[in-house]
Amino acid sequence: MSEFSVSALDGLSVGGSVTIREMGRQGMVSLRADLSAAAKAVARVTGAEMPAQRKISAGKECAVAWMSPDEVLILCAADQAGKIAFDLSEALTGQHHLALDISDARAMFSVTGEAGAIRDVLAKITPADIGALGLGEMRRTRLQQVAGAIWFEAGDEARVICFRSVARYVFDLLAMSAREGGTVGYHG
């Protein structure tokens, strides 16, 4: 019933050295399976190749991100997640797997602005080597006290995902890190 549906922060945004925006409802499907054995099914449903370790591969109006040796995350439109989860389960019939629509368990943010400023803001909240994070790679990490993942959608836009219940905390973290008066100038 999408007419009732709202994301964790309902599109909240804030400016600063970069702009932070909660991206509203985002489709996410978690798939746990033997990834090599599931590659065909994933390709059939998403149009994407099975991503290599820590990589993201693009599919038809969706992307598949490597999460662990037996888990991928499919990013898609909010209204597609249920169908993709269902289709994956169909395609993997007979093979041990778990495909779940977890869209509502998560929140997603965009961080847009100048490339160096984005990395400086992120480096205040994650111990991951954010300078080494290239396009097409997803980094699961810690956002200060909570779990999260980060990737670059483009040079001037990073995406951050976290669990829904801590969306406010992560938004506040990003907003504080981007607030004027804290310029670092480390990343070029």
């Binding site: 480096a123 406010r168 607030r179």
Partner: protein
């Protein structure tokens, strides 16, 4: 009298006056001044009082090593104690006050301490702790609390308003120190392409080379430094950071650096301090060296300074500690101070050199300026009460017979230099005693090692023992090349730079001046200025049997002050070695621990304050709770509504109202925090049979079952309801606090033990909003909003679940009850949670639908005798203790905890078991209260036979109810036992107790008729 010179001062801008205050007095300095140089320039010689004896103290050093010139900075919310005047850059409006003085800085009552030299000797505390005992509590402690100490602690009621943050960086090299060695290292590393962070703790590049008149490649050092910095700034792989001190080096190349971003120019909402958390492949410590004081009587008087600090102040800031400055030394380097002072137009009556000969290039240059050089001499005593009036000279090899009084108002001393080996030592790098130069330097064969057993820190320049500027750059280049080679990076073939600087002759170690000084003099020779430790204290410790330097340190407090003995350690251990008749390397050093110099608590906390102190997890309905006055309680990282008090209503009244509303009508509970874990796979049933004490694999799709989870030690760790979604899929509900823990527990067993079982799990706690609709009118409410699921008792009985639409929402509804009432727990997608809650409230108005909180939940479950993980369990309780044997399968071969529960102590009939407790007077038993038993145990304590685990006022029953664990409890129904209280009893009377009867824990609807409708 200290003074500002008419000209000079390479770091100050005389056109920009800066007004600040010291002890409320308005003073003026120049832009670029430190607080120490500005105070010195204003004629303010006394800057504080010492820790124990309240002796007047002035500035000694010129940097982070300063022991004396500590001040309180700011006031009110921004008050900060123990700030070093030598590293505090002044700004308009800076407010500083001196520390540890009473009633005033210039006239202090504590000075009387110094007149009783027997007071507060080494080991004073330990001795007075032992005997006479009452003295400590009634005499010494009050006096010491009044008089000892340094800065004033901040007011605990005020909160630091400043902003702090942390920053993570990853790099090939961290270079600590931006003197000429650090710059040389950065240039070489920069050419190799390495990623480098170069940190300099002060506000200026170049270190002390410009002050010492070093020439590099035929030009003054200052020119080379400027060019080097220009070059480095153009290199993309070099990151330069001023006012950034490398504070600590840790395992795995982890480096902490402390950046004072805006201390020098405070502004609202600008980050004050930033803590850099760096992962570096290698660390180059180009941290220079620190000059050592000389130990002569009166060496702590205001106006006695390190020789290098005197010339730093003259050259850098145009400030001088006096007009007539005697220099006392055991080395050639201090002669530079004589030349600088003479150049500045100040008088140097003489240079007192403890060595028998002083014929090096620098002494010669000093003599050439007509300055007396007195070889083989020392200082016997400094005359003057609150400053220096005269230096009394003697033979260094004598006992201190005064030969001559030299009128002067300041003394510059130099006992040689010690390389700053702290960063080398933080991770275990070993040191060598270099006898020729009388210092400890890094032992190149024993570096601190990384995860591969390879050295990852290297010292460069003076920090490596290459003190003489002629060797410093060469050593820095060599060290950097070694580091780059270790990192498999190219090194350049650049030649060593030509450095011209006068040759220096060897120093003569002098640990006591004069060498044969008697006890009276030794009691006036300060080693540790900040903690008031003297030569006599260390010698006393040695006489009392302290041989280890670590023990002596603690006994005397040598090197334990905020400066961590930067000036005192080497002198102290040399005196100890002398007293023990041992060699210095045998005595060794104390351990160097991070941070190198104090860093702010704010920087350590970083952004974690206020709303960001801790992540607060929010349910989709949290906003409604906040808007409707919920009183919250922490449950894990969640804040759950404890109750929803109405205007003027107490929490207890609110809880009672909520309970009665549920029992008589319908209540709504936000149960979204409940853990929800999907367990799927062909082996899922088998897996859950191992996790739970009862059988889950036999559960039919569409049904729910309550289960208990134990650790492998048999203790009850979680409980909850499992719903079977389909043949291969289960939904496991855990407690709110257990969701992450139990998910991790599952993964632990799946990944480490049963890795070949085909089971996948997913924690979907946050994907759903879960609302419990509870009470006799629950079904009526749901039927009103409409459902495409048959919610009747027949179609959806107790412990059943169904999926469909309720009120237009995607819903999964579970017929489970934690209250004993008719109950539907309804899960909807989190994104629809708030709308669903609003709809239930709106439609429920006619049924009196009442939101209720966790306390009402707790009371209602206690009325029903349901256990609560964390109340009835505490990590020592097994299910059998709680009378839950019905939920423990006898048929299963195994489950986690089964073996443990068969052990003799677990099967012991003497274990306390769960019962209900009813007070005879209807009152509420105190939580945690013990059931008293007869007799006493081996410790003379009264025996106990049980304890209260949950206790509440039941509005349903109108009386106090409780559950507790009691020995043989279930066999003692109807028996009355006494519980202790903390209520005060009349003097002499027995402690008050409350009598309670042992009853069944199920107080309400024991047949379960109300939930099963």
């Amino acid at each position: 009298m200290s003074l500002r010179l008419p000209k000079g001062g390479r770091l100050i801008d005389r056109d920009k006056r800066v007004v600040f205050s010291f002890n409320g007095k308005r003073l003026t300095g120049f832009a670029g001044d430190t607080l120490a140089s500005a105070l010195m320039g204003s004629g303010q010689r006394i800057m504080g009082r010492s820790f124990k004896y309240h002796r007047p103290r002035g500035v000694v050093a010129s940097g982070v090593e300063e022991p004396n010139a500590l001040v309180n900075l700011g006031k009110g919310k921004t008050h900060e104690p123990n700030q070093r005047a030598t590293t505090t850059e002044i700004f308009q409006g800076l407010q500083a006050t001196s520390q540890n003085h009473w009633p005033s800085l210039s006239w202090d009552i504590g000075e009387v301490n110094a007149l009783i030299p027997r007071f507060l000797p080494a080991g004073f505390y330990y001795k007075t702790f032992i005997h006479p005992r009452p003295f400590w509590k009634h005499v010494f402690e009050p006096f010491i609390r009044q008089s000892a100490g340094l800065g004033k602690a901040p007011d605990p009621k005020l909160q630091d308003p400043d902003r702090y943050e942390q920053f993570y960086a990853h790099t090939d090299l961290v270079i600590a120190g931006g003197g000429i060695a650090g710059l040389q290292a950065a240039l070489e590393a920069g050419r190799s392409g390495a990623q480098v962070i170069l940190c300099e703790q002060s506000a200026h590049w170049g270190g002390r080379a410009p002050v010492d008149g070093v020439e590099i490649e035929g030009q003054p050092a200052e020119v080379w430094i400027k060019n080097a910095v220009d070059t480095l700034e153009k290199m993309e792989n070099i990151h330069l950071r001023l006012r950034c001190m490398v504070a600590g080096v840790y395992d795995h190349g982890y480096v902490l650096a402390y950046e004072r971003v805006s201390d020098h120019a405070p502004q609202d909402d600008v980050v004050r301090h930033r803590l850099w958390r760096i992962r570096s492949r290698h660390v180059i410590a180009a941290t220079g060296a620190l000059e050592r004081p000389l130990s002569f009587a009166g060496n702590d008087k205001p106006g006695v300074m390190l020789a290098s600090a005197v010339r730093d102040h003259v050259v850098n800031y145009g400030s001088a500690p006096g007009e007539r400055v005697v220099i006392v030394t055991n080395n050639d380097d201090a002669y530079r101070t004589a030349l600088v002072l003479a150049e500045a137009g100040l008088t140097v009556p003489c240079v007192v050199d403890a060595r028998a000969r002083a014929e090096g290039a620098l002494p010669k240059a000093v003599r050439a300026r007509g300055i007396r050089v007195l070889a083989g001499m020392g200082i016997s005593n400094i005359k003057g009460l609150r400053g220096v009036v005269a230096a009394q000279l003697c033979r260094q090899d004598g006992a201190g017979e005064v030969i001559e009084d030299v009128i002067c108002d300041a003394v510059a001393m130099s006992g040689g230099w010690s390389p700053v080996v702290h960063l080398w030592s933080h991770c275990g790098g070993k040191l060598l005693w270099e006898k020729e130069n009388s210092f400890f330097r890094p032992d190149p064969d024993k570096p601190p090692t990384d995860q591969n057993g390879e050295g990852f820190v290297i010292c460069a320049g003076a920090a490596n023992g290459a003190l003489h500027a002629g060797q410093t750059l060469e050593d820095a280049l060599n060290s950097t090349r070694k580091s780059l080679q270790d990192l498999n990076m190219p090194v350049s073939d650049q030649a060593f730079l030509k450095v011209s600087v006068p040759e220096e002759e060897k120093l003569e170690p002098v640990w006591i001046m004069p060498a044969k000084a008697g006890p009276k003099k030794r009691a006036k020779m300060w080693l540790d200025f900040q903690n008031d430790v003297k030569v006599s204290d260390v010698q006393l410790a040695a006489r009392e049997g302290y041989e280890s330097v670590e023990h002596t340190k603690r006994y005397t407090t040598l090197g334990m002050a905020t400066d961590q003995g930067k000036l005192s350690n080497i002198n102290g251990l040399a005196v100890l070695a002398g007293a023990l008749g041992a060699e210095i390397p045998q005595v060794g050093t104390t351990t160097f621990r991070p941070p190198y110099a104090p860093i702010s608590m704010g920087a350590i906390a970083g952004e974690a304050r206020g709303a960001l102190f801790q992540p607060l997890r929010r349910t989709p309905i949290q906003g409604w709770h906040e808007d409707n006055g919920a009183h919250f309680e922490p449950v894990g990282y969640w804040r759950r509504p404890y109750c929803f008090p109405r205007k003027g209503e107490s929490h207890r009244d609110a809880v009672n109202r909520e309970i009665l509303a549920v029992r008589n009508g319908v209540g709504l509970l936000d149960a979204s925090t409940l853990g929800k874990i999907i367990v799927k796979g062909p082996d899922a049933g088998r897996f859950l049979d191992m996790l739970y004490t009862n059988v889950m694999s036999s559960l039919k799709p569409g049904k729910c079952r309550y289960g208990l989870m134990c650790s492998e030690n048999g203790f009850l760790m979680d409980d909850g309801v499992v719903a079977r979604l389909d043949e291969e899929t289960f939904l496991v509900h855990t407690t709110t606090g257990g969701a992450d823990r139990i998910h991790a527990h599952m993964e632990d067993w799946l990944q480490c033990e049963w890795w070949d079982w085909k089971v996948y799990t997913a924690n979907v706690t946050e994907a759903f909003a879960q609302i419990a609709v509870v009470g006799p009118k629950a079904r009526a409410l749901l039927n009103k909003i409409g459902a495409d699921i048959d919610l009747s008792k027949e179609a959806l009985p107790f412990m059943g679940w169904a999926e469909g639409r309720i009120g237009g929402f995607d819903a999964r509804v579970f017929r489970i009850s934690f209250s004993g009432e008719l109950s539907f727990e309804i899960a909807v997608p989190a994104s629809q949670g708030r709308a669903f809650w609003d709809k239930l409230l709106e439609a429920g108005a006619e049924f009196g639908a009442t939101p209720y909180g966790t306390e009402a939940l707790h009371v209602m479950r206690a009325e029903k005798g349901f256990i609560m993980i964390g109340d009835e369990t505490d990590g020592t309780v097994i299910p059998q203790d709680l009378g839950l044997d019905w939920a423990i399968s006898k048929k299963k071969d195994d489950y986690l905890g089964k073996r443990a529960q068969e052990r003799s102590h677990m099967a012991d009939p003497e274990r306390w078991k769960l019962v209900g407790l009813e007070t005879l007077d209807g009152s509420v038993l105190p939580d945690g209260s013990y059931a008293l038993d007869e007799g006493v145990n081996e410790n003379g304590q009264g025996n106990t036979q049980g304890r209260v685990t949950s206790t509440y006022f039941s509005p349903t029953l109108g009386r106090g109810i409780a559950m507790g664990l009691v020995r043989h409890g279930p066999d003692r129904m109807g028996e009355v036992i006494a519980f202790n209280t903390t209520k005060p009893a009349a003097k002499g009377a027995a402690p008050k107790t409350i009598k309670a009867r042992i009853v069944s824990p199920v107080f309400y609807d024991p047949e379960g008729e109300k939930q099963n409708v």
